[in-house]
C-alpha cells in the first residue's frame, strides 16, 4: 500500500513527471533500461526466471535489497511463482497477469505498473516488481520491510505522568500510534509525495467532522505548492508552509508525542506527518499552545494552572529581566530601593565594563555554552558544563570582570527561558532578549517599552493558517479562557477552541454525578 498511488491523479508529482516511458514488450530490453537508469547499483536485485512448465513464461523479479523484506519475497513471491504455481489449475482464460494476481501472489497488496517511472518508485519504496516477457504491464507487490526503530520514550518532551511513547522515523508506525489512540472511522489520512528527488511521503491527519474544512483545504494547498528537491525532516515542511517567514515566533507546532497530536486532532487541528521525522507538525499553532505541556492535562488542573502562570512569568522574565536590569541600573537608579542600590553599586565597584557590555558578554557566553553543550559528544558534555559554570559563575566574578548580580540575572534568564515546554518558543524568546537589551542600553526604560510594544504588536499581527496567533487573548474569547492561562477542571472543558473549530464545538456532555454517596456504607 503505497501513498504515491492513491492520489496520483491530483498530486503535483504526476504533473511534473509528464514524460512517462511505457514498458516495452521485450523483457530483456526493459531490464536493460532499468539497469542503466539505476546505474547498475548492486542493491537493486533483478532476478530473471522462467515459470510455468508448459508455457515457459519468462519473468523478472526486481527489488531493492534492504528496503524489501527478503523473507516475504522468498516465501510469497519466489516460492509461489516457481513451485506452487504448478499445482494450480491451468484453466487460464484471462491474461497471465490477472492469473498471477489471482492464484500465485500470496501477498496482501498488489498493483499494476504501466511505465518505468512507476517501476522505479515501487522498487525504491521497497516493493517487489514483477515484469513479464511480452507484457507492457508489470505487477508491484508490497513487500516493504518494516525495519524500524523501536518506539522509545520521548526525549524532548518528557512527562512524569502520562504516556511514555514517542513517534519514530517511520510514517506508518506514526499514523498507527495515532490511530491506536483515536479509534474512529472519521480519522482521515490524506497523503502527498513531496520532494522531486527524495519522494518523501507526507500524510496529513485530521478528524473529519471536527476539523475545519477550510484549514484542511489550506494545508493541502500549501503542501501542493511546495517545490523542493528533498524533504529530510518535518522542519522543511514547517518552513515551507508557515504563514509568515519574517518572524521569530513559531507558527507551526511540533511534537514527538502521539498523545499531544491526538489531543490536537480532537481540538480540530490538522497533523502533518513526514516520513523520516519523529516530529509531527500541528497546524494551526497558537501562542498559548507553546506554553502548554502534555502533563498539564494529566495532573489536577489547579496544579497545572499554577505551573502555567509560572511559565508565563518565566517567559516574561527571560525576555525582559536583562534589559530591565540594564535600563534601571544605567538610567533610572532612583527606581531601585536604596539598600538594594547600594548593594548593586558595591558589586559593580571595580567592574570595568558598562552594565550593557557586561550583560551582553554574559548572555553570549551562556548561549555559547548552551550551543556547545548541545552539539558536544555526550561524553564531553559534563566537562564543558563544569568549565562553563566555573568560569562564568565564579572566576569571572572573582576576577572582577562581571558583577555577581549580572551572573544571577543571566542564569535566571537562562533557566526561565527553558520553562516553555516548546523548545521552538524558548529559542525565539532568548533571541528577542538581545534587541531589547540594545534598546535598553540606548534609551532606558523608554526603549524597553518601545521594544515590548513592537513585540506585542508583531505577535498580534501573526496568523497561523488564518487563525489569529494570540487567540484566545486577542481577540478575547471568553469561552476559550478555560484552557489558556487558567486550566479549568476536566469536567468543565466542554467546548473545543472556537476559532480553530467551528463545526463540532461541543466536546463532551456535562458530567453529571449522582447525588449522595453510593458506597458500601449505605447498603
Amino acid at each position: 500500500m503505497s501513498f504515491s498511488k492513491n492520489n496520483n491523479s491530483n498530486s503535483p508529482e504526476s504533473k511534473k513527471n509528464k514524460t512517462k516511458d511505457p514498458l516495452l514488450k521485450s523483457l530483456a530490453e526493459n531490464v536493460k533500461i532499468i539497469k542503466k537508469v539505476m546505474g547498475n547499483s548492486n542493491d537493486i536485485i533483478i532476478r530473471e526466471v522462467d515459470i510455468l512448465k508448459t508455457d515457459k513464461q519468462r519473468i523478472a523479479i526486481i527489488y531493492a535489497d534492504g528496503l524489501a523484506d527478503k523473507t516475504a519475497i522468498t516465501d510469497f513471491i519466489m516460492e509461489s511463482l516457481m513451485l506452487d504455481i504448478d499445482s494450480t489449475p491451468e484453466t487460464r482464460e484471462e491474461d497471465i497477469i490477472q492469473y498471477l494476481k489471482n492464484f500465485c501472489l500470496t501477498v496482501g497488496d498488489v498493483e499494476d505498473v504501466n511505465d518505468l517511472q512507476s517501476v522505479y518508485r515501487a522498487v525504491l519504496n521497497g516493493e517487489t516488481v514483477i515484469l513479464l516477457e511480452g507484457q507492457t504491464k508489470g505487477i508491484a507487490t508490497s513487500t516493504k520491510s518494516s525495519k524500524d526503530r523501536a518506539i522509545s520514550q520521548p526525549s524532548t518532551e518528557s512527562v512524569i505522568r502520562g504516556p511514555q511513547e514517542s513517534f519514530t522515523e517511520t510514517l506508518r508506525t506514526n499514523t498507527a500510534l495515532i490511530r491506536r489512540k483515536i479509534k474512529d472511522p472519521n480519522l482521515w489520512i490524506k497523503s502527498r509525495v513531496i520532494g522531486d528527488i527524495t519522494q518523501t511521503d507526507v500524510a496529513i491527519m485530521y478528524i473529519n467532522g471536527i476539523a475545519n474544512d477550510k484549514i484542511v483545504k489550506e494545508v493541502l494547498e500549501r503542501l501542493d505548492q511546495i517545490e523542493i528537491d528533498g524533504i529530510l525532516d518535518s522542519g522543511y515542511i514547517e518552513e515551507l508552509i508557515q504563514d509568515s517567514q519574517f518572524t521569530p515566533f513559531p507558527t507551526v507546532f511540533n511534537s514527538e508525542r502521539p498523545d499531544v497530536i491526538a489531543a490536537a486532532l480532537l481540538e480540530g487541528k490538522v497533523a502533518i506527518i513526514v516520513d523520516g521525522s519523529p516530529f509531527v507538525l500541528i497546524v494551526p499553532a497558537l501562542f498559548p499552545a507553546f506554553l502548554q505541556a502534555a502533563e498539564d492535562y494529566y495532573q489536577r488542573s489547579i496544579i497545572s494552572t499554577l505551573i502555567r502562570i509560572l511559565r508565563y512569568g518565566g517567559i516574561f522574565v527571560s525576555l525582559m529581566i536583562p534589559s530591565l536590569y540594564i535600563s534601571i541600573t544605567t538610567f533610572h537608579q532612583e527606581m531601585i530601593p536604596t539598600p538594594m542600590l547600594i548593594s548593586i553599586a558595591l558589586q559593580r565597584e571595580g567592574v570595568p565594563f558598562p552594565a550593557f557590555i557586561e550583560a551582553i558578554l554574559m548572555e553570549i557566553a551562556f548561549e555559547i555554552l548552551r550551543e556547545a553543550g548541545l552539539r558536544m559528544p555526550r561524553v564531553i558534555g559534563p566537562a564543558v558544563s563544569i568549565v562553563g559554570t566555573l568560569i562564568i559563575g565564579q572566576a569571572a566574578v572573582e576576577a572582577g570582570i562581571v558583577s555577581a548580580v549580572m551572573v544571577i540575572i543571566v542564569s535566571i534568564t537562562a533557566i526561565c527561558s527553558f520553562l516553555s515546554p516548546a523548545y521552538a518558543m524558548s529559542n525565539s524568546i532568548r533571541m528577542l532578549r538581545f534587541p531589547l537589551m540594545i534598546l535598553a542600553a540606548m534609551f532606558g526604560l523608554f526603549g524597553v517599552m518601545m521594544g515590548a510594544f513592537a513585540i506585542i504588536l508583531h505577535v498580534c499581527s501573526l496568523r497561523s493558517f488564518g487563525i489569529p496567533y494570540t487567540a484566545p487573548f486577542a481577540p478575547l474569547i471568553p469561552s476559550d479562557q478555560k484552557d489558556a492561562i487558567v486550566l479549568f477542571s476536566r469536567g468543565s472543558l466542554l467546548t473545543r477552541p472556537r476559532l480553530v473549530n467551528q463545526k463540532n464545538v461541543t466536546r463532551e456532555q456535562k458530567l453529571v454525578r449522582k447525588k449522595g454517596r453510593s458506597d458500601l456504607g449505605e447498603s
Binding site: T330, Q333, T338, I342, L346, A355
Partner: protein
C-alpha cells in the same frame, strides 16, 4: 513600487539617526556618588552644603578595610545648587541625590529661614520626595552629618530609621517629607513643626572610627522634641511631653507609653496606647472661635508597680479618668504655649475653619495668628478605653495582703 522602496529606504535612514543619540544620559552605577544625607548651614551670607556619600566598597560583607563607610563633602556657595555642583571639585564622582534619606537643616539656617533650602530640592527632577527633614539643635548640620553611628553603618540610615521607629513607638517625633513641609509653609497658616536632632556626647570622637568601637558609644545622634517654625523661621523648641501632645492634636500618635500614678500614690502604672484618634471640630466662629478636640485613646496595661485590682471595672474607670485628665492638662498647656508664647497655629486650627467655613476664613485669615488664634477657646476632651491587661491579670508581685 519604486516610490514605496524609496520611502522604505528613507524611513530606514531616519530610523538609523535614532542610534546617533547613543546612550544619552546614561550613568553607570560606579560613576555615581550616592548621597544619602544633605546638610545645609548658613555661614556668613553663603550656604554651606554638606553631603554624606556612601562608599559601597566599605559596605561589603566579605572585605572591609579600615575606611569609614561614608564620606562627607562640604562646600560653600552663593546658592545651594552652586555649592552642590562645586562638590565635583573635591569628589571624583557626580553627586547623585535621588536616594537622599534625610536632610538636616542647621540651627543657624533655621533661625534665618528655611525657605531657600527647599526650593532647589522641590524643583530638581533628580531628588525624590520621600526623605525626611530634621533640624539640628546646638550644632550645625555639618557637625551632625560627621558623626559616625554604631549599628547602622550609614549614619543617614540611622537618622532615617530612628525617626520612623520613634514616631511609631514613642510618638514624640514627626516625619516630615519635603512635599508636606512645602504644603505647611505655603498654605494660609505658614507654620511647621520639624523634629530636632542633637549630638549627645563628645563630638570629636564622634567623627572618628573609634566612635563605633566603644561599647558605650561616646557620641550619639538623638532626636529631641519638635522645633516650631513660624513662617519659615524657628521660634521655639518643644520638649518631649509637648511634642507628644502636639502629635495627639495632629492625630499622629500610632503608639506611645503613658504613665499614671497609682491610686495610693505608691508607684506608677504604665499603659501602652495602641490606638488614638483625634477629631477637631469647629464649634462656633463668632467673635471668638471655639473648638472641640475629641481624642479617643485605646490602651493596654503595660506595667503595674503597685497593688491594684485590675479585674474590677471601677478601678479601671477611675484610673482611665485620672489618665485622661492628665493628658488633657498636658495638651491644654501646649495649646496655651502655642497661643500666647509663640502665637503660631502649628496644629492647624485655622485650617479646620477654612474647611468648615471657607467664607468666614477669608475674612479672618489675615489676622488669624496674631489676633484671633491666641484668643480662641479650645476644649480638649480625652476618652480612654483600657482594652487589655497584657498576659497577667492582677500582678502576683504586688499581691493583695488579706
Amino acid at each position: 513600487m519604486k516610490v514605496r522602496k524609496k520611502i522604505t529606504f528613507i524611513l530606514f535612514l531616519l530610523s538609523i539617526t535614532l542610534l546617533l543619540t547613543g546612550c544619552w544620559s546614561k550613568r553607570e552605577l560606579n560613576e555615581l556618588a550616592i548621597g544619602v544625607a544633605l546638610g545645609i548651614d548658613r555661614v556668613d551670607d553663603q550656604f554651606e552644603v554638606t553631603v554624606q556619600i556612601v562608599d559601597p566598597s566599605e559596605l561589603s560583607i566579605k572585605q572591609s578595610s579600615s575606611r569609614t563607610s561614608v564620606v562627607t563633602y562640604t562646600t560653600k556657595g552663593k546658592t545651594i545648587f552652586e555649592a552642590i555642583r562645586k562638590m565635583t571639585l573635591i569628589s571624583s564622582r557626580a553627586i547623585y541625590l535621588s536616594h537622599l534619606q534625610i536632610m538636616v537643616i542647621g540651627e543657624g539656617m533655621a533661625n534665618d529661614g528655611i525657605k531657600p533650602t527647599l526650593e532647589l530640592l522641590a524643583r530638581d527632577h533628580e531628588v525624590r520626595n520621600n526623605f525626611y527633614i530634621v533640624v539640628s539643635s546646638k550644632s550645625t548640620a555639618r557637625e551632625v552629618l560627621n558623626i559616625l553611628t554604631p549599628l547602622e553603618k550609614i549614619p543617614a540610615n540611622k537618622l532615617f530609621s530612628s525617626l520612623e521607629v520613634s514616631q511609631k513607638k514613642w510618638g514624640v517625633t514627626s516625619k516630615m517629607r519635603l512635599d508636606q513641609l512645602i504644603n505647611h509653609l505655603s498654605n494660609d497658616i505658614k507654620s511647621a513643626a520639624l523634629t530636632t536632632v542633637e549630638i549627645i556626647g563628645d563630638q570629636k570622637i564622634g567623627n572618628d572610627q573609634t566612635n563605633m568601637e566603644i561599647v558605650n558609644t561616646p557620641a550619639l545622634l538623638q532626636y529631641s522634641g519638635l522645633s516650631i517654625f513660624k513662617d519659615d523661621k524657628l521660634v521655639g523648641i518643644l520638649n518631649e511631653e509637648e511634642s507628644k501632645s502636639y502629635n495627639y492634636l495632629r492625630d499622629e500618635i500610632e503608639s506611645t507609653i503613658e504613665s499614671v500614678s497609682c491610686p495610693k500614690n505608691d508607684g506608677n502604672i504604665a499603659t501602652q496606647v495602641i490606638n488614638s484618634k483625634t477629631e477637631i471640630k469647629v464649634k462656633s466662629i463668632k467673635d471668638i472661635p471655639e473648638f472641640d478636640v475629641n481624642i479617643n485613646v485605646e490602651q493596654n496595661i503595660g506595667e503595674v508597680e503597685c497593688q491594684i485590682d485590675l479585674t474590677d471595672s471601677n478601678t479601671i474607670k477611675q484610673f482611665n479618668e485620672k489618665e485622661s485628665k492628665q493628658i488633657e492638662k498636658r495638651i491644654k498647656s501646649l495649646i496655651e504655649k502655642l497661643q500666647n508664647k509663640y502665637q503660631v497655629d502649628v496644629v492647624g486650627f485655622g485650617e479646620k475653619i477654612y474647611r468648615s467655613h471657607p467664607k468666614e476664613w477669608k475674612k479672618i485669615k489675615g489676622k488669624w495668628e496674631e489676633a484671633i488664634f491666641p484668643k480662641a477657646k479650645i476644649n480638649v476632651k480625652v476618652n480612654i478605653k483600657t482594652k487589655g491587661l497584657g498576659t497577667l491579670r492582677n500582678s502576683q508581685l504586688y499581691e493583695q495582703k488579706e
